[in-house]
Amino acid sequence: MKKEDSKIKAEKTYIVDAEGSLGLLALGYKGVKAWKDKIKEVKNKSQNTNANESQNS
């Protein structure tokens, strides 16, 4: 099996991270929403960390 084949097959596990995946897109609304929420969450976390860091400094 080629590399890209294993990638597509592996998507069924629906690991939700900010990177997203074709599997999440194929899951439809639920997958896209989860992925976009994750991006927001990561963004917020990073903003909070930056804010905390700047407060601490």
């Binding site: 080629k2 890209e4 084949d5 897109l25 194929a26 899951l27 439809g28 609304y29 896209v32």
Partner: protein, 845 residues
């Protein structure tokens, strides 16, 4: 199941999906969802329409009507408010679509992404228009386009579904382009295009899944343009590597197409899970996409040239309750989808629809019902209010008039040029639609105008020529071909090809062969050229050459039903019946409504003594064309000579007698114009003549007159005409008008110099042949002219004019033409030998 056959219907459109790409993926187990769907339902090809342009086609799918009725004619349309052009909108659709009919009938109806569906129609459910998923590109903030969602309050939900290309991540790209990291994105913007295609598909899919999860539904239509987009962008990189594609790009992008199909299979899995097992699923594409040696190397610099990448058959797969399993769907066209869905909902089909329900797919028989039209059935159907529905082309005309009257400022030159260009294209598309629906006179009217206004664009002239070819107006076809040849525009080989077609129609098969062979050297990639060549070879009985030509056509397009049919005929003539049967069955599989293919299948089956199957094949041909006389005659032959069931042949004979016009062959012209010689030629060729031999041979006609006394009284009494059925009879020009309409006539009209005719007549009457009777000459000339004009208007008369002098001087060439015209199996050599040069006695020097 209650009042309808289907509990609910999910209609999924995959623009440009093609079995040629899908089949290897299925074989490799790489599209498991589609595989399951196929296994639990019916599948087959679906024939596209002309022109194969998606907004036109998807509107025909959604309405069951051709574009001359539904009004969507192009990708873009004039915008009367800006004097510019805009993407085609749903308000230009003049008729109800299936989702409007279902809305009117109270069903929960949803639609996502259909092309065109903007602004979203107020149907009884959710409508997400085809502007919703369009990316704005760059990193600008995307906003929901106004009018993209119905009902408006759901806009925020669907805003969450929209994905912009810049949001697509490396993880999503890598399955398509495993070596994406090697792409120099400064120089090569291909990954951006790929991201755009993925984002568009995912946006539509997300919207559809939200509806299926959150809304009650009876019908949901989901349209994805993504496979078409992937194909237009990446098919050139699909293996095998095309000439001119650099290795580097081929290696990078060769997996994109397969990746796109597999991504769609993943999305399909989700849709089917949400739809549930009790839903009826219809998956189809509007046309295919060339993926092999048929991929055009270069697209011509013409509008809508991209459509040349499309192939004529799309995919169709239907599964669900009461749908046959593992069934092959035959003869489906895009127009059949709406009538089929109406049947699934137990609703009547509009008689003004152009398609038919695919009844063959149902396990338990269903009898469809009909009404005149859904357009006249009042009710809230979820179309836009009438004041929003506009004919943009008419609006443009109105705007033009306002400009001319000085009420509105003229648009800028560029705008006007744009509007003019798309108006021409819409007219061309309308002409193609009309031509493919047998509305040839209307098509010709448009094309004549386009050709006159744009005399240097060969495509309009060629399209006009094709119309003339269809209606067998070879006179005008000859004029236009000669004109195009004289202009020496581009497309010369295609003109040469059409020249060959006209020459064949002009009963000059050898010249036709030369023209077609010459065109073959330049446009050998055109399968229709090889099919025409094959038919010429069939005409001149060169069976092996015919076989080779049809095989050449099939090398170019393995799915061409007409090439398979021609191949079948050439194999029958070589007595290779089993091979012929395979070829003809394949042709029928591709194009079921093909009476000639069923007929020849019957002939092949007869020859291997499969009489029952032959009867079945002839009967299908007759069902499609009840006047197919030869098919009836085969049935009689089988019943009488082989099955010994004369009681079955009797009703067929009666049917032929009562319902089918017979053919009478007529030799006509002025007395002494060579009619007796022509009768002699045909008699020696093997055609049965109707004569009573009352008028005996004499010095003027040493080989006999071959006349039938009763023809002299044709004006008073034609009751004897049945005696002439399938025979040849001599009727002088002045009496042709008294032949009854109850027969078809093939007339060989002899022409000879008037002076020679009169000289011969004078001599025969014992008068002084040196005196030229001027008054009689004038009268005869006028009568001939009137008769010839009258024949032109007779639908049951087919005429060939034969010059007496040419017949005497070039008998071989003329006999070849006559045989071609009569389309009978006459003895060429005997016919040629019966032309006696010594009989040419009253020459004009």
């Amino acid at each position: 199941m209650n009042r309808k056959t289907a509990k609910k219907v999910l209609l999924i459109g995959w623009d440009a999906a093609d079995w040629k790409i899908i089949n290897p993926l299925l074989d490799a187990g790489l599209m498991p969802t589609l595989e399951k769907l196929i296994n639990r339902g019916a599948m087959g090809n679906i024939a596209t329409l002309d022109p194969p342009l998606s907004p036109i086609l998807w509107t025909s799918i959604g309405t069951g009507k051709t574009a001359d009725k539904h009004g969507i004619l192009n990708f873009v349309e004039p915008d009367a408010s800006t004097n510019d052009i805009k993407p085609v909108s749903v308000t230009s659709r003049k008729v109800k679509a299936i989702w409007n009919i279902l809305t009117q009938e109270g069903y929960k109806t949803h639609l996502v992404g259909w092309w065109p569906s903007h602004p979203a129609e107020p149907i009884n459910g959710v409508a997400v228009s085809n502007m919703f998923h369009k990316p704005i590109g760059g990193k600008k903030e995307w906003k929901m386009p106004p009018g993209a969602i119905h009902p408006k309050e759901l806009e925020s939900i669907f805003a969450d579904c929209h994905i912009e290309p810049h949001e697509i991540t490396a993880s999503m790209i890598l399955p398509f382009v495993p070596n994406a990291a090697k792409v120099d994105q400064e120089k090569d913007k291909t990954l951006g295009k790929l991201a755009s295609d993925i984002a568009g598909a995912a946006s539509i899919h997300a919207a559809a899944t939200w509806i299926l999860e959150n809304k009650e539904w009876d019908f949901c239509g989901v349209y994805l343009d993504s496979i078409d987009h992937f194909c237009h962008g990446f098919m050139k990189y699909f293996p095998p590597q095309m000439e001119g594609v650099p290795d580097e790009y081929f290696e990078l992008y060769k997996d994109v197409i397969n990746g796109a199909y597999r991504f769609h299979d993943m999305m399909l899995e989700r849709l089917l899970n949400l739809a549930g097992d009790d839903a009826t699923i219809i998956l189809l594409s509007d046309h295919g996409f060339h993926s092999d040696h048929l991929r055009p190397k270069k697209l011509p610099n013409e509008p809508i040239a991209a459509a040349l990448e499309h192939s004529p058959y799309g995919i169709l797969c239907i599964a669900g309750p009461n749908i046959k399993k593992d069934e092959r769907i035959l003869g489906a066209t895009l127009l059949d989808i709406t009538p089929t869905i109406l049947t699934l909902f137990n609703l009547p089909i509009g008689k003004d629809m152009d398609g038919k329900p695919l009844l063959q797919i149902f396990e338990n028989k269903i009898a469809p019902t009909y009404i005149d039209s859904w357009e006249s059935i009042q009710g809230e159907c979820g179309m836009h209010p009438k004041d929003l529905q506009v004919d943009p082309w008419a609006a443009q005309e109105a705007m033009k008039q306002l400009v001319e009257l000085g009420y509105v400022e003229a648009p800028g030159e560029n705008k006007q040029v744009r509007v003019n260009k798309i108006t021409i294209e819409a007219d061309m598309n309308l002409a193609k639609v009309l031509a493919s629906n047998n509305k040839i006179p209307q098509a010709i009217e448009i094309l004549k105008r386009l050709y006159t206004e744009n005399p240097n664009e060969a495509r309009f002239g060629l399209q006009l020529a094709l119309c003339y070819q269809t209606i067998k107006n070879f006179k005008d076809l000859r004029i236009i071909i000669d004109e195009l040849k004289a202009k020496k525009l581009n497309n010369m080989p295609r003109i040469e090809y059409l020249d060959g077609i006209v020459l064949l129609a002009e009963n000059k098969p050898k010249k036709a062969l030369a023209a077609l062979k010459s065109a073959e050297n330049k446009i050998g990639h055109m399968y229709s050229l090889h099919i025409s060549l094959g038919h010429v070879y069939l005409k001149i009985k060169k069976w092996e050459d015919a076989e080779n030509s049809f095989r050449k056509a099939l090398q170019i397009d393995i799915n061409n039903a007409h090439a398979l049919h021609g191949l079948g005929i050439s194999l029958i003539r070589q007595e290779k019946y089993e091979e012929a049967i395979d070829s003809l069955l394949e042709a029928i599989g591709l194009l079921f409504y093909f009476p000639e293919a069923h007929y020849h299948l019957g002939e092949a089956l007869y020859n291997i003594k499969q009489y029952e199957r032959a009867i079945e094949a002839f009967n299908v041909a007759i069902t499609m064309n009840p006047g197919y006389k030869k098919a009836h005659e085969w049935l009689i032959k089988i019943y009488e000579n082989h099955l010994h069931l004369p009681e079955k042949s009797e009703p067929i004979k009666k049917f032929i007698m009562e319902k089918i016009k017979g053919t009478i062959y007529v030799v006509s012209g002025l007395p002494r114009s060579g009619t007796s010689m022509m009768m002699q030629v045909l008699k020696n060729g093997g055609l049965e003549i109707l004569t009573d031999n009352l008028r005996k041979e004499d010095d003027n006609n040493p080989k006999g007159y071959l006349e039938f006394e009763k023809t002299k009284k044709l004006a008073q009494d034609n009751s004897w005409i049945n005696e002439a059925n399938d025979k040849v009879i001599k009727v002088i020009a002045q009496l042709l008008q008294f032949l009854p309409d109850s027969f078809n006539y093939k007339i060989i009209f002899m022409e000879r110099e008037m002076t020679e005719v009169l000289k011969s007549q004078q001599k025969m009457l014992g008068r002084d042949a040196s005196i030229y009777p001027t008054a009689i000459a004038e009268t005869f000339s006028k009568q001939l002219e009137t008769t010839k004009n009258w024949i032109k208007g007779q639908p049951n008369m087919d005429v060939m004019y034969v010059n007496y002098k040419e017949m005497i001087e070039q008998p071989e060439q003329m006999v070849e033409s006559i045989n071609n015209f009569l389309d009978l199996d006459l003895d060429f050599d005997k016919m040629v030998k019966s032309v006696d040069l010594n009989l040419y006695r009253n020459k004009t020097i």
